[in-house]
């Protein structure tokens, strides 16, 4: 199970299987340039592999006024 926290929405999602950051971004409807993907204090590029038990933050970067 991979747990994903969406910011600033404050939503938490779980996924049974996700191979890469790119797959995750597709699942949450974001593009690479629209969000930072963070695992344990590290920024991940879209080719990075995700693993069972990962806790990921997807932080939107678009200013909203």
């Amino acid at each position: 199970m991979i747990t994903v926290h969406l910011e600033p929405e404050g939503q938490t999602l779980t996924f049974d299987t996700l191979n890469t950051v790119l797959q995750l971004l597709h699942k949450v409807g974001k593009r690479q340039s629209q969000a930072l993907v963070i695992r344990g204090g590290e920024l991940l590029t879209q080719d990075r592999k995700l693993h069972r038990g990962d806790e990921i933050v997807v932080r939107g970067v678009t200013s909203r006024g």
Binding site: P8, V61, S63, R64
Partner: protein
Amino acid sequence: MKCRVCKQTAAVALPSHHTAFCPACFAAYFARQVERAVHNHRLFTPEERILVAVSGGKDSLALIHQLAGQGYNVTALHLDLGIPNSSGPAREIVAAFCAAHGFTLRVVDPAEMGLSVPEVKAAVKRPICSVCGKIKRHYMNKIAYEEGYDALATGHNLDDEVARLFANTLRWDRDFLGTQGPLLPAQGKFARKVKPLCRLSEFETAAYCFLHDLRHGATACPYSKGASFTGHKKLWEDLEQRSPGSKTAFYEHFLTHGKTAFAPLAHKDREPLQDCRICGAPSNLETCGVCRIREQVFAVKEKAGADLCGQGREAKNSL
């Protein structure tokens, strides 16, 4: 993905540059982009005093942090707009950030001058984002000019500039197209305005803040829903996805080829500027836009006060 420079694992991928960087090499890249903007557009020199408008968002915090890191003489300016659930937390973030990094902070409270944004919103019929922008520009310029700063720096990034250029182009607004860019020179009582982050996207400023552990605000202004720039940014995001580098090309080519065509036409029909009869700020009319807004707010308050008195009299008479 490997860092283009040192071949370590990359942390930030930049498709628009066909590259990726590790945290250390990204920091060097970020600094280089700011240096290039400052140098190419002659924004300011190391000897000059820079007033940096700091909202508490990622762009303005990244800007002042980076300029200070490059040795520039910076002072932070924060405007507390009195917006419920938004201005208070933003002010706290800015105060904590400036205290942590040793930046001098100047806070201006337009609400103390009769211009709290909720009251303004209730008094004017125009879209509040445009009125709020006018109030912010007025006070930022006033402080920069009256306190003798050489330049006023804002955290506008490439996405902001592209969205603005796109909006100006949709209207073929020659006044704005002739003056848009990272440098607006000082003129009369207008301070020099500069945008040193104009080569960096908001993804890059967000990555910079994360990698430098800069805690910034991310709460949307409660009044910004439906703002046109947000829609324009989404359109450009689609284009950038299909054709990486489009935003940079649109903006940079405008600066080198397009702007010069509009510059001679900008403000050609504008009335000569005069000092506002109330506050002395430069204005096309006898009273500047901000003082006119303040008069509208007072008029609404007076009317509300008179109505309350009237209701009180009616209630008393009915007893």
